[in-house]
Amino acid sequence: MKNKKTTEEVALGIRRRVFEHSMRNNGGYLSQACSAAEQLAWLYNEALNLGEPTMPMIPPPFGGVPAPGNDDYVTGAGYNGPFEPQYDRLFIAPAHYALVAYATLIEVGRMAEEGLEMFNKDGSSVEMIGAEHSPGMEVHNGTLGIGLSTGAGLAYGRRLRGDSGEVCVFMSDGEVQEGQTWEAIQACAHHGIDNVWAIMDVNDQQCDGAMSSVMEVRDIATKMRAFGATVVEIDAHDLNAMREAKAEPHEGQPLIILAHSSPTKGMEFLQRRFPRLHYVRFKSEEERDEMNQSIAKELGIDPVQFDTH
């Protein structure tokens, strides 16, 4: 697909959309937009080789789960383009980044704006925690830690088939607390699976707060290298560093880019909430109003106009 915007513009658009949506809906995954906007913008706008979307711009309603007889069932993979040998696949491992991922789809022209209006509405496929059938989601990743293993299996299969397309997994740093993440890396290294790569949003945040306070994971890069990955550490808001990291040779190993991010990047007002940033709600009307004014100013837009009720 032809890029209509620069990656910087896409990233800003993601933050604006997630901010506006969170303001209107009395809260949301704001911090994930702050930390991951550049990463998702870069993946969709530059890094991945994706075909034209095969799904309608306005997402269809929930069409049932995979089951015998539900022959029309499709996943959300079509928003990332057709499953053809030359194209890359993308798994969003932390499925609670869905709002950010949907905003990205809109910014890069893969989903209509109306899609976000369906977010978390009953009967909609645009679910709060991205499901397999949600736009841009290709597999179920709602339980953290299963994404890289699935990506590795798909990559191994694609290598056997001779596909040139790679498998990319967008990960979150909290996932390294799960043993499965390490099982996946060692399996990739053991089997020389190097057509899978990952970019991990290292924001030091998890549901209970700062990761160091919940469960110290120590030096992720050193651990990953010891398990057999090629690791590059970058500033998650530096697009040139991202581009260079992807070019790192990683023959026989998976490439994992550790993108050290700020959970308040672009919305510094959220620092007041640090370190409880996993899901931002407003404690009062006054706070919502203050946040609306301040963050809108940071993002260079007008404050969100609320419906009177």
């Binding site: 293993s149 990506g151 299996g153 191994y156």
Partner: protein
């Protein structure tokens, strides 16, 4: 004397996998224990060693399924669902990947004790949407298992017998069907896996005591043909007895109870199996006797159901087969 077949899975799997190149053989460090060591040595390009890391293996297999492959997972049954339950659900069952889970050492067929004995696997898999379940009861079923499992449009969990396996049947598994081994009209006996051989041990003695048995052997536990079972239930006078190598909750006993209740028919049901208990380590005949899963337990169950005395005791039953603890037919004493 019943024919014994040595390592029927080994040769059957190799033949099937070689004829189906989208089959990928996966193992979690129990390769010789699951009789695929020869396959690994002869066909390394179709074999994947996944190590002792079942969580990754399940999601990885899901990824292979997404790529259009049909992974055959080999390990002990108990290791395929207890630790990696979440991965089994999210990466395999939900998306209906064509993953064939070969669970060896079902129930008390291992002396490995609680950690090795899959005693609630059928209950777990029955509760999992999209999962099918097959169970093998003899060498012919083991030999036909790969083709039967691979014909299923979705994931399937299989209870596989290994080592020295008796040949009881001469026709392959036909998915969705059940075997009618006798057509009496006093009591319906429903068995699967190794308990079928036990019921057969009691056959002559029961006939001698004048008890007319209708015996069904199940190899397809899900999907299950309740309608067919209902026909058999309505063909007996005294009720039904289930004998399973599994806890009595959630397995074959429950399957039959559900059929009876949903049809609203009045039939007594006796459920034999592990009575809501764990087992411990010991030989198969010892465990089957101790926990009441053997031919004698079936006879006593039938006596209770019909309120009769048959005067059958252990000596009247066909001889129990005792496998050597150390045998060339199996990889280890487990």
């Amino acid at each position: 004397m019943v024919e014994m077949v040595t390592r029927p899975y080994a040769s059957a799997f190799e033949k099937y996998a070689l004829a189906n190149k989208d089959v990928i053989c996966m193992s979690a460090d129990l390769t010789s224990s699951c009789e695929i060591d020869g396959f690994r040595d002869r066909h390394p390009e179709q074999f994947m060693s996944m190590g002792m890391a079942e969580q990754n293996m399940m999601s990885f297999a899901g990824g292979l399924g997404l790529a259009g492959y049909r992974p055959f997972i080999h390990t002990f049954g108990v290791f395929t669902y207890r630790r990696p339950y979440d991965q089994l659900m999210a990466s395999i069952a939900y998306p209906r990947r064509k993953v064939r889970i070969m669970g060896f050492l079902p129930g008390v067929t291992t002396p490995g004790g609680m950690t090795h004995q899959a005693i609630e696997d059928i209950a777990i898999m029955r509760a999992m949407p999209n999962m099918s379940i097959l169970e093998t009861g003899d060498a012919t079923e083991v030999e036909s298992l790969c083709e039967a499992a691979d014909s299923i449009d979705g994931p399937v969990y299989c209870r596989v017998l290994r080592g020295s396996v008796p040949r009881l049947f001469d026709t392959p598994i036909k998915v969705g069907e059940m075997r009618e081994l006798s057509a009496g009209d006093d009591v319906l006996v429903v068995t699967a896996g190794i308990t079928t051989e036990e019921a057969l041990r009691a056959k002559a003695a029961l006939a001698g005591a004048g008890v007319s048995i209708r015996h069904l052997h199940l190899h397809t536990l899900k999907p299950f043909d309740s309608k067919r079972l209902l026909d058999h239930l309505q063909s007996v006078k005294h009720g039904v007895i289930t004998l399973e190598n599994h806890v009595i909750n959630g397995g074959i006993g429950s399957l039959v109870a559900e059929t009876i209740a949903e049809a609203g028919i009045e039939k007594k049901l006796v459920r034999l199996g592990l009575q809501d208990t764990y087992a411990h380590g010991g030989s198969r005949p010892y465990l089957m006797r101790y926990y009441g899963l053997d031919a004698l337990a079936l006879v006593r169950g039938i006596e209770g159901l019909m309120n009769i005395e048959t005067n059958i005791d252990a000596d009247d039953l066909d001889a129990v087969r005792v496998d050597a603890v150390h045998s060339s037919a199996k990889a280890e004493a487990l």
